[in-house]
């Protein structure tokens, strides 16, 4: 016993620091372990069982790869995966483009800049669910603003329910997702733009560079690290985006907005097929992991070739 205490007793200054630091981190780490790490392991384990409502607390049978075979071999699986990635690329792409435009506008030297900046933030501040209720009303076919507007300008003839048709429901959900995600992207791009050294612009200006040229050759390369890391973060969140689709369409009509995360939720929580649901959850993690890895590798390689700084830590 005494030797154990002797062993744990810090000897050098560095060891004291390490011990103290870890003591401070321990509560947070423990919390994450309980709520994220252990559930992750448990999800993995459950994905090989036929757990359901009756056997959730124990007693489920081990079924090997059966869930995976069923999930991946399912008739709808390929289209769900394609849809999820399409949803992610489209939505993140739009968020990045809008974010860049918004940040550039808000960084410009105009009056009342502060007010404009604050006015852009509400979609991000307000609970996602409540923002979605607003969009639910906007998309309403008979009485919604968007339907009436498209009637007035002649895009549609008569009332049009945006969430009732496969194509329009999907793109409507994308618009709402972009609406919710853009403010944060804008805010971080704005900060990055403001961090670009002023003298770079002045030097270019003296040399007669146009605004567009300065944006392309100074702003973009300088904020590239932020764009790269924001895009990845945004991609992960969009891939996992649940509330927006759930409130707007619950994955419908006829599965047109069912992404992997919606499919996971439906299988696990609505059909009580916990094993099969866990399998889908594992697949979500795997796909996201593979995507992040490819993304970082390709950008690292591009960075070496073209001299970007790569992903910001």
């Amino acid at each position: 016993m005494s030797s154990l205490i002797q062993m744990l007793k810090p000897k050098t200054k560095a060891q004291t620091a390490t011990l103290f630091a870890w003591t401070l981190i321990a509560p947070a780490a423990l919390c994450i372990f309980l709520v994220v790490v252990w559930p992750l392991y448990e999800t993995f384990r459950l994905s090989f069982t036929n757990s359901n409502l009756g056997t959730l607390m124990g007693g489920a049978d081990f079924v090997g790869w059966e869930n995976y075979e069923k999930a991946i071999g399912g008739r709808k699986f390929p289209s769900i995966v394609t849809r999820t990635f399409y949803w992610m690329f489209l939505s993140v792409g739009l968020k990045i483009i809008l974010g860049l435009i918004g940040a550039t506008l808000l960084a410009s030297n105009i009056r009342a800049r502060g007010i404009f900046r604050a006015l852009v933030m509400p979609p991000w501040i307000v609970p996602i669910a409540i923002g979605c209720f607003g969009w639910l009303w906007l998309y309403n076919g008979h009485f919604g603003l968007l339907s009436s507007f498209s009637e007035m300008v002649g895009i549609t003839n008569g009332p049009f329910s945006f969430l009732a048709y496969k194509q329009s429901a999907f793109y409507s959900a994308v618009v709402t997702d972009v609406w919710i995600g853009t403010p944060m992207v804008t805010l971080f791009f704005l900060a990055a733009i403001q961090g670009v050294p002023k003298d770079l612009y002045e030097a270019a200006y003296v040399d007669g560079a146009s605004r567009w040229y300065r944006f392309r050759r100074i702003t973009m390369p300088q904020i590239m690290p932020t764009v790269i890391s924001m895009a990845l973060l945004s991609a992960i969140w969009t891939f996992n985006s649940f509330e927006i689709i759930w409130i707007l369409t619950e994955g419908g009509p006829r599965g047109a907005t069912t992404t992997l995360i919606i499919d996971t939720f439906k299988t696990a929580i609505f059909s009580y097929k916990f094993g099969a649901g866990a399998t889908r959850a594992v697949l979500v993690c795997l796909l996201l992991g593979v995507f992040s890895l490819i993304y970082l590798t390709v950008l690292g390689w591009l960075g070496k070739k073209y001299g970007y700084e790569g992903v910001q830590k």
Partner: protein, 294 residues
């Protein structure tokens, strides 16, 4: 000179900003207008003959009525008697989540900001990797965990997952604030014989108050925003329901009371909007300071 714009540039700039902000605020404006309109007006359509496009006057008549009033803001409390409870629950849950997450965040952020120790980078990366997993992926085992400890259908069912998913971002944000506090102050305290814990409490924390407030507000907003998923899966008790889940009660079997639903939504977001209004300057600069390379 460089930042001067020609008139044409100026017009373009302001128009673009106006468009951008319109997109961001349109749903709120429409929510507000809908909340003012009586239900009969909400559910009326101008008679547009088949094959003809709607005229501008007809279009505007959809969003304007002489009978507009704040009646829905009175009626909603009658339609959903539990409404005050839902709003209270939302604020209470967000406050509790903020409080508990700060208890975890402050010591950990301090450790990352101040000490060099084995496994620092690895553990920080692992913390940030938590962002990879949304709550939706981990619902099943979380449900199991909460049921095992009898916490389903309590406030804890929504507080515990809420806290955990905010910790990583909180550590990362607060760390960049604490790093800006000069190290000499601590050294001076050490020299005077103060313990590490005493230094943290009496030297660092008072200096870190602005940072703590910004991170706290960010956590509150995050906690307020993320209630829906955990509420609909881990809680069936109406007494503990937060507003985003409770608002579904306006969707009846017969019809949706859109005006009251919009009114309740707007009242429900008032707490965060007010906090944001007062804090926005600090919040915007504070949130982004960590994102920019020095």
């Amino acid at each position: 000179m460089m930042d001067k714009y020609s008139l044409l540039h100026k017009i373009g700039l302001y128009t673009s900003i106006a468009l951008f902000i319109t997109f961001m605020l349109l749903p709120f404006v429409e929510m507000f207008i809908a909340s003012l309109r009586p239900l009969t007006h909400l559910f009326s359509r101008p008679d547009v003959p088949l094959g003809e496009t709607m005229s501008f006057v007809d279009f505007m008549s959809r969003f304007w009525s002489d009978k507009m009033s704040f009646q829905a803001y009175r009626d909603m409390w009658v339609t959903v008697p539990q409404l005050p409870r839902y709003i209270f629950n939302s604020v209470f849950l967000a406050t509790a989540v903020t409080f508990f997450s700060m208890c975890f965040i402050v010591p950990a952020a301090y450790a990352y900001a101040r000490f060099d120790f084995r496994g620092k980078t690895t553990s920080l990366t692992l913390f940030l990797a938590v962002n990879m997993f949304s709550g939706a992926v981990l619902l099943i085992p979380l449900y199991k965990l909460l049921r095992l400890y009898g916490l389903l259908n309590t406030y804890w069912a929504m507080i515990i997952p809420g806290v955990a998913f905010l910790i990583p971002t909180g550590i990362w944000l607060l760390k960049s604030f604490l790093e800006k506090i000069p190290y000499e102050l601590e050294e001076a305290a050490f020299v005077d014989g103060a313990s590490r814990l005493y230094t943290l409490r009496r030297v660092i924390l008072p200096l870190a108050v602005p940072g703590l407030i910004v991170v706290g507000v960010a956590m509150f907003i995050g906690a307020y925003a993320q209630q829906f998923l955990f509420a609909i899966t881990f809680n069936q008790d109406r007494d503990y329901m937060p507003l985003p889940a409770g608002i579904f009660e306006f969707i009846g079997y017969q019809r949706v009371l859109w005006n009251e639903m919009m009114a309740a939504s707007l009242v429900g977001i008032l707490p965060v909007l007010l906090i944001f209004l007062f804090m926005q300057k600090h919040l915007i600069s504070g949130l982004t300071s960590g994102a920019v390379k020095e």
